[in-house]
């Protein structure tokens, strides 16, 4: 059976520290756009920590919610792409082929989660910042759409290692950068087709829910609620 990669986000563990955001930048060669571009709403964060205030002082609470590509099974972003740049892999990933992308940005409009980002300019890494770029991840040129890949390069690397050693992938062997960096272990990644994997167990938790579930996008990211105290 092919793998079906999914993630669980435990909102009870998440502290909004932002480590995942930086880890994602470091792993995936996400450009820093600078202040003037950020002011225009072009900051790129494949994963972001949303926060929502509730109530009024002094009875005020705040909720964090890390949002990355939900890797929907019925992804609204995929069919609208005229060039198949956005499509579904047989491991259930919502893949983006940068070379095929012509920049209609339709996928980003169709995405209800707003997790797709556009390269408005050619990305810049003043030397020698470019030495940090991860050679396993392509740098996107101007005019293409980019998004969270569940660190597909890590998935592939682990799969190749396992194949070379003639063994099955172990649960927890693959960790996308955000999952790896999360010290509170709020993010758990794994194979949803393996009922014994940690992510499968968490996804079945009664604390679990999907983001914008009623849209029918069948996300593969499960959010585990913080219990009401």
């Amino acid at each position: 059976m092919p793998h079906r990669w999914g993630m669980a986000v435990d909102l009870d563990r998440c502290t909004g520290c932002g480590a995942c955001v930086t880890a994602c930048h470091a792993e995936n060669n996400i450009p820093t756009v600078g202040d003037s571009q950020a002011a225009r709403g072009r900051a790129m964060h494949w994963i972001r920590v949303e926060r929502y205030w509730e109530g009024e002082y002094p009875d005020v609470t705040l909720k964090f919610r890390p949002v990355m590509c939900q890797q929907c099974d019925a992804a609204p972003c995929e069919p609208v792409c005229p060039t198949y740049a956005s499509h579904h892999t047989d491991e259930g990933l919502n893949a983006q082929i940068y070379n095929r992308c012509i920049g209609t940005r339709y996928c980003a409009n169709a995405c209800p989660y707003n997790v797709r980002f556009f390269d408005f300019f050619h990305p810049q890494w003043p030397k020698p910042l470019d030495a940090q770029l991860n050679p396993d991840v392509s740098v996107r040129e101007v005019g293409v759409m980019e998004k969270c890949t569940f660190c597909v390069q890590r998935i592939h690397a682990a799969a190749i290692d396992a194949k070379a050693a003639n063994r099955e992938l172990k649960d927890g062997e693959i960790q996308p950068a955000c999952v790896q960096s999360c010290s509170a272990k709020a993010l758990v990644f794994g194979d949803l087709n393996d009922p014994e994997s940690e992510v499968s167990k968490l996804s079945r938790s009664d604390r679990g829910h999907k983001l914008l579930d009623d849209l029918g996008t069948l996300p593969k990211v499960t959010y585990l609620n913080r219990p009401q105290a």
């Binding site: 480590a19 930048h25 002011a39 002082y57 050679p135």
Partner: protein, 726 residues
């Protein structure tokens, strides 16, 4: 097409093919022969230590090959090197346990920063203008040696001043040794936001002059007093990991978390219950809880803890009797009912632990607060108990001496100043006039990697390696239940013409006319040396190897006193609460673009500085998100954009520290305002630490939004429709 490609293209078409190859400087770069074995595309992992905060997380650096532009023998060229690509937590490190915070991960950009100083610099223009010329290492070292020799020749060794980063590391020992053996005063290592009060209180309460470690993973109840322990305080990565376990790590058990503070931190946002209190009264609440546990109806705790509970209140004059729930309500503003309920929960849900840190310990009555929370921990029976408070053993390296009340006074008479990894101009209250003092020192040498607010005044810059290019060593003060120390070799070869500061110092020491002999021969030996030199004359180190010091009584018996504030309440109606930015800490990582562009967890702000105020306050002042306001304290005025922030009391305004550097690379220079400049230098009397939360300000609307506040969630301020009639 990339701009460069276009230029290349025009160059080719514009000139003849033969000349074209000379037309583009890129073509002139020579490819040097690599100096190390390189396996293209294969990653290796090497350990190192995160330099960003004092937690000392061990990191794992992913090393792969990359092309680096460099200069060899005066020839510019490209060389293929094994370089660090990414930093992750080192899984076997008891502190980071494989995780790493945003600042730690961004630390890799220190090494590759485009504005990093690549070779020794000598001041060229007027002081403070930042005009330097590149010089060679021999010249640079000779210059420093000659200045030190001149001091020695005039028998004026006391006029050497060294400013260092307040770190428990071998590096600070080296500086101290150098100063001592040269004959100068000990290095100044001052941390404005340091935890001296808590260390002193821990020495008094528990016999450990050390920051505590919390076994949150096993706690069932956690009450925090102002400590942003999931964000910036103490050892955040370790605390996050433990916190995650406390919440969901045990089947069927979920630890409850209550946070007491006056401005919601990211930590407070994670709490089940957030209890705002009047600034500076947190200790009263803690003692109120102690009172209820000792005397109140909640006295249900096991007998074993009873004795320690009796002890707990001992340091307090008159015990905890006067802190009845009603009195607590009067002082703190927390309803008596709520106090009683918390006490009940504390009694029921064991193990329970209390944490204090941050703003509550930045008031004039900080020692009282720290001791009160320590008393609460004792009353809870949580000291050295599973799910309680511990002290990391083996923190063998001593910390810097507690700072005197005005740490930089000696700069006024200094003739030669050495600055190592510190930025006192930025991190000192205005009233200390550190900038003026530094500007008047005849000779300043800095080991900085960047031209910052302080090193811009340097006459000589001898750039250090980045941490990835250095021998590193850490021995954690806290964050781990077991001893944690790391020594690691350089992850990569230096990419610039820099030198390890310890080796520069050792070389300088050796080249002096009256050579100073240091007990290490190079950086490797320094990092690896197990013991501090026996000749150290600093205060004794605290560690578990040593017989634990018995609790010492405080100099004066602590009793709640209303905190004193700088500025008259009528004239300056708001409390000013500066807080450590989760991205920049005290500002030392403001130059890293990833951190600048990381949306702040609470406000979603990027590339900005701002002041937070309660919606009511904002309405009263007719201020909307992004509007500029003038904050005025007795120390001066700052103009900053406002952020409307529901999690703050109406009489408090809070501002993150970290921006407002005059000089700190292209990414941080001239960006925002420096909150430290408003802080009045009033001190906690016991330790002399600056009570940085004890300043009052007035707030006035100054101008409409001018775009300097950049929010990721910019349009969230249009409230969702549920609040409106359609």
């Amino acid at each position: 097409m990339e701009r460069r490609d276009f230029i290349k293209l025009t160059a080719v078409t514009g000139t003849s093919a033969a000349l074209a190859s000379c037309g583009n400087p890129e073509h002139q770069l020579i490819r040097f022969v690599p100096e190390e074995d390189i396996i293209p595309g294969i990653a290796a992992w090497k350990p190192s230590v995160c330099p960003v905060c004092s937690a000392g997380c061990a990191v794992n650096a992913r090393v792969m090959d990359a092309d680096i532009e460099t200069v060899r023998n005066g020839q510019r060229g490209v060389v293929r090197m094994n370089v660090a690509k990414k930093l992750e937590g080192l899984p076997k490190d008891p502190i980071s346990r494989g995780g790493l915070c945003a600042r730690g991960q961004a630390a890799i950009q220190i090494t590759y920063h485009p504005d990093r100083i690549a070779q020794p610099l000598k001041r060229e223009g007027a002081r403070g203008t930042g005009q330097f010329k590149a010089i060679g290492w021999d010249e640079a070292i000779a210059e420093l040696v000659s200045k030190l020799d001149a001091l020695a020749a005039s028998n004026d060794q006391k006029s050497l001043a060294i400013v260092a980063r307040p770190r428990r590391s071998r590096r600070s020992e080296l500086l101290a040794e150098f100063a001592r053996r040269f004959g100068g005063p000990p290095p100044i290592a001052f941390d404005l936001f340091g935890d001296d009060v808590l260390r002193r209180a821990n020495a008094i309460s528990f016999g450990h002059d050390q920051l505590p470690t919390f076994d949150l993973a096993q706690a069932r109840y956690l009450i925090g007093f102002g400590a942003d322990f999931l964000g910036t305080w103490n050892s955040p990565v370790a605390q996050n990991a433990a916190y995650g376990e406390m919440r969901q790590g045990r089947p069927g058990i979920r630890g409850r978390f209550v946070q007491v503070e006056s401005r919601m931190t990211t930590t407070g946002a994670s709490a089940d219950e957030w209890i705002p209190v009047k600034p500076g009264t947190e200790g009263v609440l803690a003692l109120g809880l102690v009172h209820l546990m000792n005397r109140g109806p909640e006295r249900t705790a096991p007998q074993a803890a009873a004795a320690s509970r009796a002890d707990a209140a001992r340091p307090f004059q008159g015990g905890d009797d006067e802190y009845t729930p009603q009195r607590v309500e009067q002082i703190t503003g927390v309803p008596a009912k709520r106090v009683e309920r918390i006490a009940k929960e504390l009694a029921e849900l064991r193990p329970a632990v209390a944490i204090v840190g941050g703003p509550p310990l930045a008031h004039t009555n900080a020692m009282f607060t720290a001791l009160a929370v320590n008393a609460l921990n004792t009353a809870l029976g949580s000291v050295n108990q599973p799910g309680g408070i511990f002290f990391t053993p083996g923190a063998a390296i001593q910390g810097p001496a507690p700072s005197p009340q005005t740490p930089y006074t000696s700069l006024g008479t200094a003739k030669v100043l050495l600055i190592d990894d510190a930025n006192p101009v930025y991190t000192s209250p205005t009233a200390w006039k550190v900038k003026d003092a530094i500007a008047n020192i005849p000779f300043i040498a800095s080991f900085a990697s960047f031209v910052d607010d302080t090193s811009v005044f340097a006459d000589l810059i001898l750039p250090d390696h980045s941490f990835l290019e250095s021998w590193v060593q850490s021995s954690a003060e806290s964050g781990s239940l077991e001893a944690a120390s790391t020594v690691a070799e350089p992850v990569m070869k230096p990419i610039h013409n820099t030198r390890a500061t310890p080796e520069v110092l050792i070389e300088v020491a050796g080249k002096l006319k009256a050579p100073v002999s240091l007990p290490w021969k190079d950086a490797e030996e320094l990092a690896k040396s197990a013991q501090p030199p026996a000749t150290s004359n600093q205060r004794p180190a605290t560690s578990n190897q040593r017989p634990a010091t018995s609790p010492r009584p405080p100099a004066s018996s602590p009793r709640f006193e209303e905190p004193r504030f700088d500025g008259d309440a009528a004239q300056y109606p708001f409390h000013f609460l500066p807080y450590l930015s989760p991205a920049f800490g005290d500002g030392s990582s403001a130059h890293l673009p990833w951190l600048q562009e990381m949306p702040d967890a609470m406000t979603s702000a990027m590339w900005s500085s701002w002041v937070e105020m309660n919606p009511q306050t904002a309405q009263k002042l007719k201020v909307r998100d992004g509007d500029l306001v003038d904050l005025t304290s007795t120390q001066g005025t700052l103009r900053v954009p406002a952020v409307i922030f529901p999690g703050i009391a109406p009489d408090i305004v809070a501002m993150p520290v970290g921006q407002g550097h005059e000089h700190f690379t292209r990414y941080a220079s001239g960006r925002g305002a420096n909150a430290i400049s408003l802080i009045a230098p009033i001190a906690e009397p016991e330790t002399g630490a600056v009570a940085w939360a004890a300043t009052r300000v007035k707030v006035a609307r100054a101008a409409d939004a001018n775009g300097t506040l950049i929010l990721f969630a910019a349009e969230m301020r249009e409230r969702p429709h549920e609040y409106k009639v359609r």
